[in-house]
Symmetry: C2
Subunit: 474 residues, 2 copies
Amino acid sequence: MINLEEFKEQAHKFVDWITDYYLNIEKYSVKPDIKPYEVYNKLSVKPPENGEPVDSIFEEFKKVILPGMTHWQSPNFFAYFPANSSLPSILAEMLTAALGAQCMKWETSPAATELEESVMNWLKKMTGLPGNFHGVIQDTASTSTLCALLTAREKISDYKINNEGFKDGETYRVYCSTEAHSSVDKAVKIAGVGEKNLIKIETDKEYRLKPDVLEETIKKDLEAGKKPLCVIATLGTTSSTAVDPIKETGKICKKHNIWFHIDAAFAGSALILPEFRYLSEGIEYADSFVFNPHKWLFTNFDCSAYFVRDKQALVKTFQVVPEYLKSGNQGKVNDYCDWGIQLGRRFRALKLWFVIRNFGIKGLQDKLRKHISLARYIEEKIKAHNNFEIVVPANFNLICFRFKPGNITDNEKLNELNLQLLNKINNTGKIYLSHTRLKGIYTLRMATGQTNLEQKHVDQAWKVIQEQSENLKF
Amino acid sequence: MINLEEFKEQAHKFVDWITDYYLNIEKYSVKPDIKPYEVYNKLSVKPPENGEPVDSIFEEFKKVILPGMTHWQSPNFFAYFPANSSLPSILAEMLTAALGAQCMKWETSPAATELEESVMNWLKKMTGLPGNFHGVIQDTASTSTLCALLTAREKISDYKINNEGFKDGETYRVYCSTEAHSSVDKAVKIAGVGEKNLIKIETDKEYRLKPDVLEETIKKDLEAGKKPLCVIATLGTTSSTAVDPIKETGKICKKHNIWFHIDAAFAGSALILPEFRYLSEGIEYADSFVFNPHKWLFTNFDCSAYFVRDKQALVKTFQVVPEYLKSGNQGKVNDYCDWGIQLGRRFRALKLWFVIRNFGIKGLQDKLRKHISLARYIEEKIKAHNNFEIVVPANFNLICFRFKPGNITDNEKLNELNLQLLNKINNTGKIYLSHTRLKGIYTLRMATGQTNLEQKHVDQAWKVIQEQSENLKF
């Protein structure tokens, strides 16, 4: 293994390379032009007997790995939702890696635990969450939503499922809209509630959950002897960033004593903008709330901010304290390993602290507003083009559109064409978009949320989209 | 936010600091002398309105955060199990942070997915795991064991619990030894099996699961109409690195058609040493196996290597494919988001690749052998001392011992004294040990596994232990 002196030399080289990477990131094909196992087949089948110098490993990284990577930090990346990094976040990740601290319990890294409590309180203030919420960093919104569901399950069963398992023959019900994220389906499977008992409520024409249908469904379920467990509202759906009516949904949950979880994984960041704060009206009805600073708040993945009102219920759901983890401070401090699934935990608060401090609230707000205005800007261009249409107006910075030349009206034909168009666009390597389906419409998704996005990038993107649409044969 | 030029300057400063940190790491108190909320109270209550320069943030990191951290990478850290980092791993983490790639599906980062398959195959070869195992990197052994249990649950129920929820009134049973890790308890709670149905099998005098008792228990459960679901054997328990009899346990599982999971979180790394390979005899009976390269294979947390025989069962348990995640390569490639709980995934294979290549198999073996021989060395010293005793002989590099002056025979008194001794030792800040309880004996745990551990460190540790024992009043 390299010694400390060699490390220093290499790490300086790596810093130079990282800087160059960001300087030249737009020269890379955003999405690699690659076939399955093309990279794998270039890699050594056998692990090396003897150590190899870092230079050789780094060379192979550059020659074999890098050309097979999708460049998520490229400003030409418009697919999915972004997974934003930023320069202060990368700096913090360097420290986190160097400290290599295990932040499972307060005892095992006191400052990391307390910094986590501190920055989570900052986020609470920044997004206007209720003061009585308690925050913890999870890895992903999938995990956060699972934690919410498990806590709901335990609270409603008086912690009996944890202790005795499912046995009383209750049929629990979980509700979300048809547009909710797939992690809800996954959570319901894992928690043993069963996908069949995840009831997907229809949405209005703006893809928002219909509260009257929700309440009707709950009532019917109650009449049929089912036990409503949890409602998951989405603040910014993955397909189209639709925002479910939080207040009305929350009131229904309160009335029927159902755990109310809000999945704001992507759009939750927008709550730091006063002009979007109205969207979370009724948040005081929520039992739990998640949003991902690793999506649209410039903090390296993984960093999912999970907030819960009833901290005791969360801890009771997950806490197991074996002898080898007992310490004298039990109960006086937060032991975050008791706030979720994993025992081991990285020092993730540090990057969030670096990001919030280096950007400042204003800096973060400026970035978000810029992304939103770029979305509006490009949306206007798409709207004005004869051969394109906006499928659903952008609420934040996700544009949902499709190619729709005037002479084609058959939806299946249009879907086929848009699938072709998407492939053509992505194959250019110049930009990367993704897709979804909205009420049967194959829809192109363009999220303008990458950290270093400028107007020139969206201009170029729009140019590529138009060019490729002109090459379509139909 | 800092610009790229400022980033470069700062990142170079950070590299210098990291190098200095490792150079001077022994000057820090391993465990901070700190009270709850001492760090928290020094942190700003409010997030900053305006961005602050990196220099100020870094200064506060050094002044406020660092003195409150436990130094897990210090060679004087002997507590818990190590969470080892190493210099090549830190270099790789720099690249991972810079790329900021989301490795959920092949499509979203092809090279990362294929490198993961490649290094997991390396690990399989290095540890002698069966060739028909399939590997995936999870965050922690807690998550891996939960995945094993959930897959077992679905396979036995023909994927009905996932789909319909628990409803058939079955009482499932899970078995492990009384020494198994607390993550088993947590997994059983989460999976809805119920802690009551986790049957803890007694151990022999070396803290190994008793196969005959296991089989007896399974038979009784079957007679009583319970449904045995999963047996979890531990290869290297947390308290004393006991190794359950893999082969005998495996045979019982095979006979009764029970999922057999092996938790080798810490000691699994030792399987890269031919002289320890006999411990995994019978591994071919296993359905799943986990060990953590982030513990004793010098790879930054998080990096838990999970292997499963029936890949289809794993994927069927977790897969949910919404429209916005559909791609043309479904089924032709590994989409690792379908192999576990989280959708989002960091590029964790890179650090493992850097570590294995830079150390080489021989380099890794040398390190492990050194750690084991240092444990033997210090164990001899403890054994030879009149006032100390070895509670259970070290299997690998974890020494379980206690202070036991000849004139005291009352176990409660001894327990009290050893608790006092542990506090005294850790309060010196010179070394950090942890504890456990073995059949009622309060036991001090000293794991000699830190990456940069040398004989001088264990000599010093033994000196501190003796000195502090001499200061005990009794």
